[in-house]
C-alpha cells in the first residue's frame, strides 16, 4: 500500500514515515501543500495523511483539489485543534476521518488500516478466502489456521491482491502501490515475490490463489468464504 504524508513538522513527518515504512507501507512524504498535491496528483496513492495547518496551501485546499481531480483514495486529516469547526471543515472538504494531535501511532495505524479496508470495500479487518485468511491489523496470513511466515514485501503483495480480489492487477499497478517513487520498475523482483508467495501459501499447488493473467497481470481468484 502506498501512502502519502503531508506534514510540515519535520520531526513528526520523519517519525511517521519511519513507523509506517516499518509497518510495511511504501510512503511518500511532503513538507508543504504544493508538493503534497503534486505527489497526490501524479502517483497512484492508496491513502493520504494530511495535516490541516500547512503553510502556503492549507490542508483543506489540498483535499479539495485532490477531490476535484477525482482522486478517490481515503484521506485522514491531522489537526492540532480539536474544535469541531476544523474537523467538520476537513471532512466536508472530502476527508474521511480525522485524528487530533497529539495521538498514539497505534491509533494512526488503526485508522489507516480501517480506511484502507473501507476503500477496498471490506468492512472487517480479517479478509477470509478459505482456507486463506489475512489479518490487516496484525499483518498475519494463515492457511488452515496455520501462520505463514512472510516477508514484508510478500505480505504487501498478497494484501493488495486480496483487497482487490477478483480484479486483474497489472504489474505496473502492483509495483506502484507496493514501492515508493524511487523503485526501479524494470526489475523482475515482482515475479520473484509472487513466485515465493505461491510456494509459501500453496506449497502443493492445489489452491492456485494467485492467477497469472497473460500479458495483463495477476488476479487473486479464491472465492470469499465470509467477508464481513
Amino acid at each position: 500500500m502506498r501512502l502519502l504524508i503531508i506534514e510540515d513538522e519535520q520531526s513528526l513527518r520523519e517519525q511517521l514515515k519511519q513507523r509506517l515504512v516499518a509497518r510495511g507501507y511504501s510512503v511518500d512524504a511532503a513538507a508543504d501543500g504544493r508538493e503534497g498535491l503534486f505527489l497526490g496528483s501524479e502517483y497512484p496513492m492508496d491513502l493520504a495523511i494530511i495535516d490541516i495547518g500547512l503553510p502556503e496551501m492549507s490542508g483543506i485546499e489540498v483535499i479539495r483539489e485532490l477531490r476535484k481531480q477525482q482522486k478517490n483514495f481515503p484521506i485522514l486529516i491531522l489537526t492540532a485543534r480539536s474544535n469541531w469547526q476544523d474537523k467538520v471543515d476537513g471532512l466536508e472538504a472530502g476527508a474521511d476521518d480525522y485524528l487530533v494531535k497529539p495521538f498514539h501511532v497505534e491509533e494512526l495505524f488503526a485508522r489507516v488500516n480501517a480506511l484502507l479496508r473501507r476503500s477496498a470495500g471490506h468492512s472487517t479487518s480479517v479478509l477470509t478466502y478459505a482456507p486463506l485468511s489475512l489479518d490487516t491489523v496484525r499483518q498475519e496470513v494463515k492457511v488452515n489456521d496455520e501462520l505463514i511466515d512472510l516477508t514484508s514485501y510478500e505480505y504487501r503483495v498478497l494484501e493488495y491482491l486480496m483487497l482487490h480480489a477478483g480484479k486483474v492487477i497489472s504489474k505496473l499497478e502492483l509495483t506502484e502501490h507496493i514501492y515508493d517513487q524511487d523503485f526501479d520498475r524494470d526489475s523482475n523482483v515482482l515475479e520473484v515475490f509472487v513466485g515465493r508467495l505461491r510456494k509459501k501459501i500453496d506449497p502443493q499447488s492445489t489452491l492456485k490463489p494467485i492467477e497469472t493473467v497473460r500479458g495483463r497481470g495477476y488476479r487473486f481468484s479464491l472465492a470469499a468464504a465470509t467477508d464481513g
Partner: protein, 440 residues
Amino acid sequence: MGNTRSLTTRLVVSASVLLATFLGIAGFSLDALYQKRASESLQNELLSHVYTLLSASRDDENGLPVLDKMMPDPRFNQIDSGLLASVKGHSNGYSWSSVSTLGHEFVFNQKMIPGQRYTRVDDDRMVLYFGIAWEDYEGVPNNYTFSVASDLRPYREDLNSFRKELTLWLGGSAFVLMLVQALLLRWGMLPLKQAATDIKQIEDGRQEQLQSDYPVELQALTGNINSLIRHANASQQRYRKSLGDLAHSLKTPLALLQAAREQDGQQLKNTLDEQLPRIDELIQYQLQRAAVMGKSSVAQSIALLPVVEKICRSLAKVYHDQHIKFDIDINADISFRGDETDLMELLGNLIDNACKYGRHHVRVSAISTPSLVITVEDDGAGIKSQDRVKLLQRGVRADQKKPGQGIGLDIVNEIVGLYEAELVIADSSLGGASVSVSFA
C-alpha cells in the same frame, strides 16, 4: 474638520449651503423688488409732472394750450435741475421746452397717439411721453405730445445705497446665523462627544461602561456597546481564569513527570502513558473552555438545520463502519441565536457522543416554542441515573477527573452554562440516552 467623513463637516457644509442659497435668493428678490418699486414711483412722478404741465397751460385765442416760459415747479426753470419737459403740437407745430433743457440735447421726437403713454430709459434719463388731444373752440381735436424727463442719477445713487445696506444686513444676519448654527451644532453633537470621551475613559480603564444619560437615538447604540464591553470583559475573564486553571492543573502531572526522571524502564513508560494524555486533555479542555464565546445581545441568528446536517454528514464518514442511520427532525426555519463556533462545539460533541455510545441509530431533533430545545438521542445502552447527576455537574475541574474520560461533555456543560441553558438527560424511545439542551 478636514473631510466629509466628519459629521460636523457635513452638517456645517449643508447648513452653510442652505444659508447661502436662502440669503442669495432673499438678496436678489429684495433688490428686484426695490428696483421695480423705485422705477414705478419715478414713472408716477413723471406722470404727475405731465399733469402739472397740463394744469399750468392756458388757452390761446383758438382755445389751444400755451405754456409760459416759467413754470410753477422751479426745477423746470433751473438749468441742470435734472427735470426736463417739452410739449409738441403735431398739427400746428407748437413747440415748448422748459428752461432746464437748455444745453441738453434732449430729443422729443416721439409722436404719441392721444391717450397713449410710453416710458423709455435713455442712458441716464427716464422719459415719459404722453399723447393728448386738445379740442379748440371749434371742436377740432389737436394732437399734442407732452414729454417729461428725469435724471436717473439720484435714483441710481439711491439704489446703490440700498444695495450697500442690504448687503450689510444680509451679511450681518448670515454671520449671526452661522454663529447660532455653530452653537446649535455643538449642542446637538454633545452626546456623541460625550460618548467618545466615555469610550476614551473606558480605554484608559477609568470606567467600565458608557454611563451618561444618552438621547433616545443613541441609546440603542450605547446599549449595544455596553453589552459588547460586558461580553468582552466576560470573555477576557474566562480566558484569564482558564489560563490560571490550566497553569494550576498542569502542576500535578508535571511534578509527577519530574519525579519520574528517577524511574526507569517500564515504570517510566507507565508514568508517561498516564500523564501525557492527562496533560493533553487539560490543555484541550481549558483552551476550548476559554474559546466559548457565550451569549451576547448582538449575536446573530444561525439556521440550525444546515449545521446539524454538516455535522451528521461528517460523522457518518467517521463512523462509517458503524452504519449509523441519522434521523434529523428539524424545521428549516429554526435558528439559534449565538456564536456559530459554540453551536458547532455543542452539537459536535453531543452527536459524536451519541455515535460513540449508540449502535446504529442517532436522532437529532429541535423545537422552538419559541425557546429552542435541541435533543440528541441514540440507541445505545443509555446513561444510568446515578451517572446523570455526575455528568451534569458543572465546574468539576478536569484535573480531578480520571484521564480518558473525554472532555466532550465538559465543553457542552460549559457552553450550556454560558448560554444560561439547561441540560437534561433522559431515556430515549430509541432505547439509549436522550440529551436535551433547553435555551432560555
